[in-house]
């Protein structure tokens, strides 16, 4: 039974990683938002399972925040935003999907090489989680770097935050302060981003950051 519990946590974390790769692969904004929703749902399941495994009721709260806020409210408002901004459906990927995914694989390998020896003494479950979490964080970073569109950068950032929440949930008995603050900061971050999107909309016709590059071109 113990083993099965670990297995389920492991598979959920693996699924989260897989979803991160799907985010890298997907190049349509609406598809991206759908996959992000899936990402958030898996995260919430994963955190809930950690709550059950560690017998830490406060983690259920984190899971609920992930489920309600990240899997419902954020995707809804993002859809609203892209509808309002009427931004075109495809986003270009710098360097092509294949190379991006190859770099992604490399990052996963890197995070396993870094984390597994470093955490040799820890509980196997939190060990797995932290290794997967680092991989998800790095993939989120990769997505932010490779995408030019503001909305997909945001999604990259939020998948990165999901990785952090997974890490925080995996660390045995980490106090509630941190989880709530993580969720809270995402909220703030999201408001900030939302304001930005609309401000950018005031100035440009779309949220493509290459517009900002054009602006930058005129300056030393």
């Amino acid at each position: 039974m113990e083993l099965l519990t670990i297995d389920i946590a492991h598979v959920l974390a693996g699924a989260l990683l897989l979803t991160s790769f799907m985010l890298l692969y997907q190049d349509r904004l609406s598809g991206l938002i759908n996959i992000y929703t899936l990402h958030a749902v898996i995260l919430s399941l994963s955190v809930a399972w950690q709550a059950y495994y560690q017998d830490a009721p406060h983690l259920y709260l984190t899971a609920a925040i992930a489920a309600i806020f990240k899997a419902l409210i954020i995707p809804f408002s993002l859809r609203h935003i892209i509808k309002r901004l009427r931004i075109h459906r495809t986003v270009e990927v710098v360097g092509g999907v294949g190379i991006t995914m190859l770099i992604g694989i490399f990052l996963v390998a890197l995070s396993l090489v870094v984390m597994l020896p470093a955490t040799a003494s820890a509980d196997p479950l939190s060990r797995e989680d932290i290794a997967f979490a680092l991989a998800i964080v790095l993939l989120g970073l990769l997505m932010m770097v490779t995408r030019r569109n503001a909305v997909s950068q945001i999604i990259g950032f939020m998948s990165l935050e999901n990785g952090l929440v997974l890490a925080a949930a995996g660390a045995n008995g980490m106090p509630l302060v941190v989880e709530i603050s993580v969720a809270f900061s995402i909220l703030i971050a999201f408001i900030v981003i939302g304001i930005f999107l609309f401000r950018i909309r005031e100035r440009f016709d779309n949220v493509d950051l290459s517009e900002l590059d054009r602006v930058r071109g005129g300056r030393s």
Binding site: M115, Q153, F157, A168, N172, V177, S185, R199, L209, V215
Partner: protein, 482 residues
């Protein structure tokens, strides 16, 4: 006694928080500027009280010798900046670059930033500190984007993205520190508190600490503005309101540096972990030399001094990376001097840009003739920042260089090279701006110059005569840093 301290440290966080709400509710911008000023002044006075009362541990906030330095410095500059900000904002309102609504928002954000920074400095646990740094980042992002020009939005966006990435990496490092501490200190709150962390550090898993430090160094290092994660810094300085440039350079960079130093102490306490010094030295030197070269190609006055901030943060990181009583002392002194000087420079620069109606260096000429007060304070500030005697920065740079020569002569070569390079660049730009045929003024400004004078005279004082109890205080802190 302990209740005194409890009240003081709470007040340091509480006053700005209350003031933030108060100014948010106050529609008249002059009155909100006064509230802003009074709140900052009160916070500074409370910070001074920390000298008198005995530091005590416990609760969510704590005070020790290290963070008193940062707190006093930060509340002082927060106070003088609020004085300066009042006159700056007046002018912006008159020229219509900002509306009263903007200003209300600006003041509220200013006080929130002060609150977040004091919280970050006083927080007794690594989680709370992280939250405070994140809040500080978000408030400055909002202020940087305040002019809503495409440039300002781009700068704010870049700052936001890079800042969030940095913050995210720092959180990962924080979680790893908790995981390293948890087997020793047990689950729960204890494994995140500085005091318990420090006392039990030798028993932590060293490999985990190593990985954690790399993340923390990269994460908080982004906020410090160390190369190669510095890209946000020049833009954020150049496009935001000038008081914010002063606060960013003078305070926020220090807060991030404080976080790095705390974690460095944690690693030093564990004999089996890597020594954090070389990493800090490498990043510091890289920032110094990169920024020194970049100084030559700048066309924007605020951008110029932003790169100078990167350069100096590089020197400070280098000094703390060297470690040892002397280098740490030099680092602390340099940090203090840099904060005072750089904010003074930004005070002058802000008014200069208002008078000339531009930030382009090429369009600013002959300041000492057309605007003697502003021109000569800029000259004094730049002379101070490039490290000419008898000013304070000369002292601290001299200490950094001499302690490096004594211990690692080879490292002194790139250090001196970078210093000279920056020296040349700033002097070159300064002569063009300060002397020669004056360019036409675009408007008048009622500049309040006393914050500039106050900062510069402190810097001069430190260069000529450093009071002995300040020296012993800094020496204590330097020993604490190891």
């Amino acid at each position: 006694m302990s209740s005194d301290l409890f009240m003081v440290s709470n007040a340091l966080v509480g006053i700005p928080a209350v003031a933030a709400i108060a100014v948010a509710l106050e529609p008249a911008y002059r009155r909100s500027a006064i509230i802003n000023l009074c709140a900052s002044g009160a916070t500074f006075l409370f910070a001074l009280v920390l000298f008198v009362v005995e530091p005590e541990r416990g609760g969510y906030l704590f005070v020790d010798d290290l963070n008193i330095v940062f707190i006093v410095l930060s509340t002082f500059i927060g106070f003088t900046t609020s004085v300066y900000s009042a006159s700056y904002i007046d002018h912006e309102i008159e020229t219509g670059r900002l509306t009263t609504r903007n200003v209300r928002f600006y003041h509220a954000m200013y006080q929130s930033l002060m609150c977040a920074m004091n919280l970050a400095l006083l927080a007794s646990n690594i989680g709370l500190m992280w939250v405070a740094v994140e809040v500080a980042t978000l408030t400055t992002v909002l202020m940087v984007g305040m002019y809503r020009t495409p440039h300002a939005l781009e700068a704010a966006w870049k700052y936001f993205i890079l800042g969030s990435v940095g913050i995210a990496l720092a959180l990962f490092g924080t979680i790893l520190i908790y995981m390293a501490a948890e087997p020793v200190l047990g689950q729960g709150y204890d494994a995140m508190v500085w005091t318990t962390l420090m006392s039990q550090a030798p028993q932590f898993n060293p490999r985990m600490l190593n990985v954690a430090f790399v993340f923390l160094m990269l994460g908080y290092g982004t906020k410090v503005g160390l190369a190669p994660m510095h890209a946000w810094l020049p833009d954020a300085h150049a496009e935001g309101p000038t008081p914010i440039s002063a606060v960013l350079s003078g305070l926020l960079l220090n807060v991030a540096l404080y976080a790095v130093l705390r974690f460095k102490m944690l690693l030093t306490a564990n004999a089996a972990a890597i020594t954090p010094g070389p990493l800090m030295i490498t990043l510091g030197l890289a920032s110094l030399i990169m920024a020194a070269f970049m100084l030559y190609r700048r066309g924007d006055i605020k951008r110029l001094f932003a790169y100078s901030s990167i350069e100096h943060m590089g020197i400070i990181a280098f000094a703390f990376g060297m470690g040892g009583p002397l280098a740490n002392f030099a680092g602390l002194l340099h940090m203090t001097m840099h904060s005072l000087t750089k904010s003074a420079i930004f005070f002058s620069v802000g008014h200069i840009a208002q008078v000339k109606g531009t930030q382009r260096i090429a369009d600013i000429r002959g300041l000492t003739q057309s605007q003697p007060a502003l021109g000569w304070s800029l000259v004094a500030g730049v002379v101070a920042i490039i490290g000419l005697p008898p000013l304070g920065i000369f002292m601290s740079e001299f200490l950094v260089v001499s302690s490096t020569f004594a211990r690692q002569p080879l490292l002194a070569i790139p250090l001196v090279f970078g210093l000279l390079l920056a020296f040349g660049a700033l002097l070159l730009r300064l002569t063009g701006m300060a002397f020669g045929e004056p360019s036409r003024d675009q408007g008048e400004v009622k500049a309040s110059m006393w914050p500039v004078y106050a900062h510069l005279s402190l810097v001069l004082l430190a260069g000529i005569y450093l009071p002995s109890h300040v020296v012993t205080w800094f020496q204590n802190v330097a020993r604490l840093l190891g």
